[in-house]
């Protein structure tokens, strides 16, 4: 789409813009940014599973938890106390393995049934997080050992590091780690989507029969989609844990899973950029709204008057309405909006390509299964 500006320049500009915040914004903003980046990584994974392979999952919170707790336990005490970089890597694989363990279900159960079946993971996971307190720290969770790679710590080490006059604490450092991980996620996920596995998964979504007959091993690919998506979730979990600095079981509940589902749909199913945009929308918007809602008219400061609408309430009203409005006017999500804006901006294309993707109803007869 970048006929006038070379693609490389766009990427470079974006990278520069994304590197700037740590030098200007304070911890509040950086944390929001970190949460958003982690969410984006997780959402990309879910997008691959739900958007591309068509397997609904409400169990994403569980895999995030596996990543987060896996890292904490592997790197911490009690636990094997591994080097943190290794622990992070293993935590991601652990999440993948957890996804693999679920494959008997993921391979058989489909659609919304799978969605609710994965709900079981969230509840089971929560139960385990609470009961296995020697590993998980129980209800109060555990503090997360800061990551350090090659001697460079991504935690607070007493304000030693100063870059361009800005003291680099944990948030500032993690920002760059988050960026790097997000870029990696973006790059790999796009590769997957456009490559052989992505096409096979999309085929599975549209017609399992056609996919099978064209040589796609249905069960293996369904399971693999689950594993890969869980690994992204695990990575997101690790980053989240580092950003939170403490993992607690209550965070990894159903609401989180639902949030992730909202992310990928609001962003626009089936694209990496969509998942990332949705992640920022769902993560950052409520936080920012809560923070700034008291500037709205008719909103009272928290706890001051009786019966007024407090900022949190106002923020929730707005957030709920925002979800509805976005999807009402852009059923194909945020990426749909940008696509539309782009076609508007270039009115006279030589061969008028269809402005929107076609409705699937035209082709899709019912999934024919023998």
């Amino acid at each position: 789409m970048s006929e006038r500006i070379p693609k490389g320049a766009v990427v470079l500009l974006a990278a520069l813009l994304l590197c700037a915040p740590p030098f200007y914004l304070d911890a509040f903003w950086l944390r929001i940014g970190l949460f958003s980046m982690a969410a984006a990584i997780g959402a990309v994974g879910l997008g691959l599973l739900t958007g591309t392979a068509g397997q609904l999952s409400l169990g994403h919170a569980f895999f995030l938890a596996v990543g987060a707790y896996g890292y904490t336990w592997l790197a911490g005490e009690p636990g094997p106390g591994l080097p943190t970089g290794l622990a992070a890597l293993l935590a991601v694989r652990l999440a993948g393995a957890a996804g693999g363990l679920f494959s008997p279900v993921a391979g058989r159960v489909r659609g919304i049934y799978l969605g609710v079946a994965t709900l079981a993971l969230v509840f089971l996971g929560h139960h385990v997080l609470l009961t296995a307190d020697s590993v998980t720290g129980g209800f109060n969770g555990r503090s997360v050992p800061p990551l350090s790679l090659g001697g460079f710590s991504f935690g607070d080490d007493g304000g030693g590091l100063v870059v361009l006059g800005v003291p680099f604490g944990a948030e500032e450092r993690l920002w760059f780690l988050g960026l790097a991980l997000l870029a990696g996620t973006w790059w790999t996920a796009r590769g997957l989507l456009r490559g052989r596995p992505g096409r096979a998964l999309a085929a599975l979504r549209d017609s399992e029969t056609a996919a099978a007959v064209m040589g796609v091993d249905v069960a293996r690919h369904r399971a693999s989609a689950f594993v890969v998506s869980s690994m992204y979730a695990g990575l997101a979990g690790v980053l989240l844990a580092l950003a939170f600095r403490r993992v607690v079981p209550d965070y990894f509940g159903l609401a989180l899973s639902v949030d992730y589902l909202a992310m990928i749909v609001i962003g626009g199913l089936g694209s990496v950029a969509g998942a990332a945009a949705g992640a920022v929308f769902v993560t950052a918007l409520p936080l920012l709204m809560t923070r700034y809602a008291d500037q709205l008219p008719l909103v009272t400061a928290p706890g001051t008057t009786e019966g007024g609408v407090g900022p949190t309430e106002a923020a929730r009203y707005l957030y709920g309405a925002a979800i509805v409005l976005v999807l009402l006017y852009a059923p194909d999500g945020l990426t749909g909006i940008t696509r539309r804006v782009r076609t508007r901006l270039r009115p006279a294309a030589p061969a008028p390509a269809p402005a929107t993707r076609p409705s699937a109803s035209a082709v899709r007869t019912k999934e024919p299964t023998p």
Partner: protein, 396 residues
């Protein structure tokens, strides 16, 4: 860039060392509260009570010649919101006289310790003890439950060999309460029949069946008001007429408007770190009167009392720190830990010097009363149940 010029604590004109949250004219305190989530009622009571305290304090000239200001952030019981709100709030305040929500407190424990931000969580689980900057006020749930078991054996005729049911929430509130009851029961030769529930369980029929099957002679409950109402109501309707003792968060005055009210009045007792709001302690009465005047439409409940108490205790700490010449956060914590016996006139005196130990060991036993302010009246004054000291010694 804006961030390059950091401001660090410095001495102000009056020679008092200051730090984040303290200027020459104001002292800023923070509240991470829940005004829109499951603990909204509690949150509102505490926010209002502490605001009342701030107004009174400022009217009396403030602390250390500075006005007190409370910045309230509502997280709606959402951990992620709370953690971001903390990042937003923490650079600008000197202490947190209120943090609601166990998962929130748990998620922030490390940050609070690192920032030396003196914090009064509105939770009484023993797992929150042992952190220098975090102060649980009064007794913890386990201590209350030891008192409850003692109360049952003393006044309700439970004897060796009897069993007691304990219905409790998953999480540290329930777990801590169960720890206390189990210890006390074993000590008294009783048996505890545990029943774990979730906050979303509001129909306790199955639990009551299980308890009657086990033939319990009394029931302890460490859950929320709705669960208490269901438990007592179902038990009464099924003829399981045994005494029930609840932890403090398991009771709310609204329960007396439910169909379970008669049963509650007949069977329930509440163990609490704080006295009933209807207590005749002069401090409490004064506070209740002032609160009623300022917020005539709000009910006066136990949250008001504990919120006001926390604010007063913090005020005392700040004054002490001021007198010692520094309002820097570390010094406020230090001042706080130096308090061996503070009495705000709102309940038992508290000892903050021993970090891993509850600030008080005396528990009140209360019972519902429709006519009383706050729906509770005292049954037994604050007292340390036999065995509490031994229990604490054994635990550490």
């Amino acid at each position: 860039s804006s961030k390059a010029d950091g401001d660090s604590g410095s001495d102000s004109a009056d020679g008092v060392k200051s730090g984040p949250g303290v200027t020459a004219k104001t002292i800023k305190l923070g509240a991470l509260t829940d005004l829109t989530g499951p603990y909204a009622t509690l949150g509102k009571s505490i926010v209002q009570a502490q605001q009342l305290w701030a107004d009174e304090t400022n009217a009396a000239g403030g602390i250390c010649d500075r006005k007190v200001e409370i910045v309230v952030k509502d997280h709606g019981y959402d951990v992620q919101k709370a953690v971001t709100a903390y990042a937003d709030l923490s650079p600008d305040v000197v202490a947190l006289p209120q943090v609601i929500g166990s998962p929130v407190v748990a998620a922030l424990l490390d940050d609070i310790e690192r920032d030396h931000l003196l914090t009064f969580p509105q939770a009484w689980a023993a797992s929150l003890l042992g952190k220098d900057s975090v102060q649980v006020m009064g007794t913890t749930y386990d201590v209350d439950m030891i008192t409850a078991v003692d109360f049952l054996t003393r006044t309700k005729g439970l004897a060796k060999g009897d069993s007691i049911g304990h219905v409790y929430f998953e999480g540290d509130y329930g777990a801590n309460a169960l720890e206390g009851s189990t210890w006390a029961a074993e000590k008294a030769g009783l048996k505890i029949v545990p029943q774990k529930i979730k906050a979303t369980d509001t129909d306790l029929t199955a639990q009551v069946s299980a308890l009657s099957k086990a033939g319990v002679k009394a029931v302890l409950i460490s859950a929320g008001p709705a669960q208490t109402a269901s438990l007592v109501g179902v038990a009464a309707s099924r003829g399981l007429k045994v005494p029930v003792v609840s932890s403090a968060p398991g009771y709310a005055p609204q329960l007396l408007k439910t169909p379970a009210a008669p049963a509650l009045l007949g069977l329930l007792n509440v163990v609490s770190a704080a006295p009933a709001v209807s207590s005749d302690l002069p401090g409490v009465q004064k506070m209740v009167a002032a609160y009623g005047k300022k917020y005539p439409a709000s009910p006066v409940d136990s949250g008001v009392l504990s919120g006001y108490n926390a604010a007063q205790l913090l005020g005392a700490d700040l004054k002490k720190a001021c007198a010692a010449g520094s309002l820097a956060r570390e010094d406020v914590v230090k001042a706080h830990r130096g308090q061996k016996s503070v009495d705000t006139g709102l309940g038992s005196p508290q000892d903050f010097s021993d970090v891993p130990r509850p600030a008080a060991l005396s528990t009140y036993v209360l019972k519902p009363d429709a006519k009383a302010v706050g729906g509770l009246v005292g049954v037994e004054d604050a007292h340390e149940a036999p065995g509490v000291t031994e229990y604490l010694a054994g635990r550490s």
